[in-house]
Symmetry: C2
């Protein structure tokens, strides 16, 4: 337990004041090249590393960015969320990449209890926060009161305007997906999505589907719209129901790959041929979408791009000590694999 060398010791050894040492550490003030070099040599000799902590206390910057995950269901933990939803990891990685280049670090947290979250931000003195996913409305008010640089992702609600926000063009994405099927000759195209009423994302994806259908003068049959949990099991269950009810669809627009993969597996396990008997388009392009045989045709969401934008937005405000609000939309893209096919009838 040797005592950590501090700025005072460097100053003593160099025969200067701590102020001067601080100046050369931060490269401010006009210290003569000579003393600068002398001090630097001593720091190197002693393996001196300034304490970010101490610095934070005096200048008020922790160089810490909070990234939070939405713990909505009571069973949600940062663990299950990171495991189940590959997006969060991708976001995390990309944000880390950007902010670490500025010497910032990520502090990870889940948001569950309202007050606890605020405490966390304040007690850690975070310089900014990035909220992944969506949360109960009162969280946003609370965050707003904190008045620190904040970016929201995938939030469509009006309070998104109070912060930076980054979205995917969800409606356009499923429009492309649907149009792809229409171009292939499909007419009886169903839609599978998460709760349209409760989630603006799902609603937007639904609307994109509707738009493409209407444009092509295809009827949107209410019986062809299915709501599921956005899980693999949700997809399995739905597919089993569809097969049992002998629904006469030739194609499905599914608003999440994880669900599409469940549908595909349930169908294949029952001996149905994909895409021969049913074409499926997913949304997201998670890694597993290319693991199956056939691969899943899907709409790629550029999560890493979104993460990068989110990180840059927050860094911009932090560095400029500003509080601006920008809204960015990242284009999605149709990725054609083997799960969709021409339909002649």
């Amino acid at each position: 337990m040797t005592k950590k060398t501090n700025i005072a010791e460097i100053a003593r050894l160099a025969g200067v004041s701590t102020a001067t040492v601080s100046y050369v550490i931060n490269d401010v003030g006009k210290v003569s090249e000579q003393t600068k070099k002398r001090i630097r040599d001593i720091m190197a000799d002693l393996d001196y590393i300034p304490s970010i902590n101490a610095r934070s206390l005096s200048n008020g910057q922790t160089k810490l960015i909070g990234v939070t995950l939405p713990l909505i269901a009571p069973s949600d933990t940062t663990g299950t969320l990171l495991e189940t939803n590959p997006f969060f990891a991708e976001y995390l990685g990309e944000i880390h990449k950007v902010i670490s280049s500025y010497g910032y670090d990520i502090l990870l947290s889940g948001i569950q209890v309202k007050g606890k979250y605020k405490n966390w931000i304040q007690s850690r003195g975070l310089d900014g926060i990035i909220l992944l996913g969506s949360y109960p409305p009162d969280i946003y008010e609370e965050v707003k009161a904190l008045n620190i640089p904040t970016v929201l992702t995938d939030v469509y609600e009006s309070y998104a305007n109070d912060f930076h926000s980054v979205n995917t063009d969800d409606a356009e994405g499923s429009y492309l997906a649907t149009k792809h099927l229409i171009t292939l000759g499909h007419k009886k195209i169903g839609f599978v999505g998460g709760s349209i009423k409760e989630s603006p994302i799902h609603n937007n994806r639904y609307l994109g589907y509707g738009k493409a259908m209407l444009e092509a003068n295809l009827k949107v049959n209410n019986d062809w719209i299915f709501e599921t949990l956005t899980t693999f099991e949700g997809g399995i269950a739905l597919a089993q129901q569809l097969m049992k009810d002998k629904i006469e669809l030739t194609a499905l627009v599914v608003d999440a790959d994880i669900v599409a993969l469940g549908i595909m597996k349930a169908c294949q396990d029952s001996g149905r041929k994909i895409p021969d008997e049913l074409s499926i388009v997913g949304f997201d392009d998670i890694q597993a979408a290319s693991f199956t045989s056939p691969g899943l045709t899907t709409i790629r969401q550029y999560i890493s791009k979104k993460g990068e934008i989110a990180a840059n937005l927050i860094m911009k405000d932090i560095l400029a000590n500003a509080r601006t609000t920008e809204s960015k939309v990242v284009k999605s893209k149709l990725i054609v694999r083997g799960s969709t096919k021409l339909w002649n009838e």
Copy 2:
């Protein structure tokens, strides 16, 4: 920008010293119930949140645990690693779950350049670190010199003894995998793994395979041992080679699911029936292993268990201000899905 309320203001309002306020915050010292209550009320009124930062500076504890990812290839970033390898996210989530219950936070980093890593730990004043995966040997020396609670995961090298370490029973796992195939009647069983020379993990998994083969008096044909990159593409490429060379194996023990999935896809895309023409067992049980049709029979690694153990080991040392070294092994388990089948011949 209202000034943040601090301990001095609370003290003033309560008519006590800052010491007393500090005592009630930390619940130490015998402050009278009366003053305690008065102080607590004032803190609540003012929404006072103590600064962890300031506390750290005076008591030396940051309540921060570093978790690092191995950036080995030049192209590795925290981003690509977290995306590609679902384990890291699972580890992260589980570690977070445990340590956050102690009021600790995770600081995420990649390790690449030697000195930079040490700087990071020191400048942030981390209370402990968990190294995910394996690193160049000199990293371990450096970490050891830091003399802070440290846990290693999946490291077999001798320097693991200098730290806490958590492993899977890799050899036992692939022994089980191989035995499963043998029980099903397979005799011509190949092994696919990462570099056996360079990685003790892959080597252990190979040895488990060998043990089962020898026990069953089956010959281990050198031509049946394949080395690949541990990637989906590695699996694809290998399968294409196998089909081209018309290798006469009936089953494959693959030491990573991601590779097994690649092999399976390449085979299926070429019209080969799995498991009718070839049985495959993977290792890891990543999420996607249950997405394919058939599902992948595999050896489940309990990553979340490993994460939990790692977190508890580090918390124990931190809380006791000790520096112990324990070595834990987490049992793996055979999960039978559809990719393996009886072989009669």
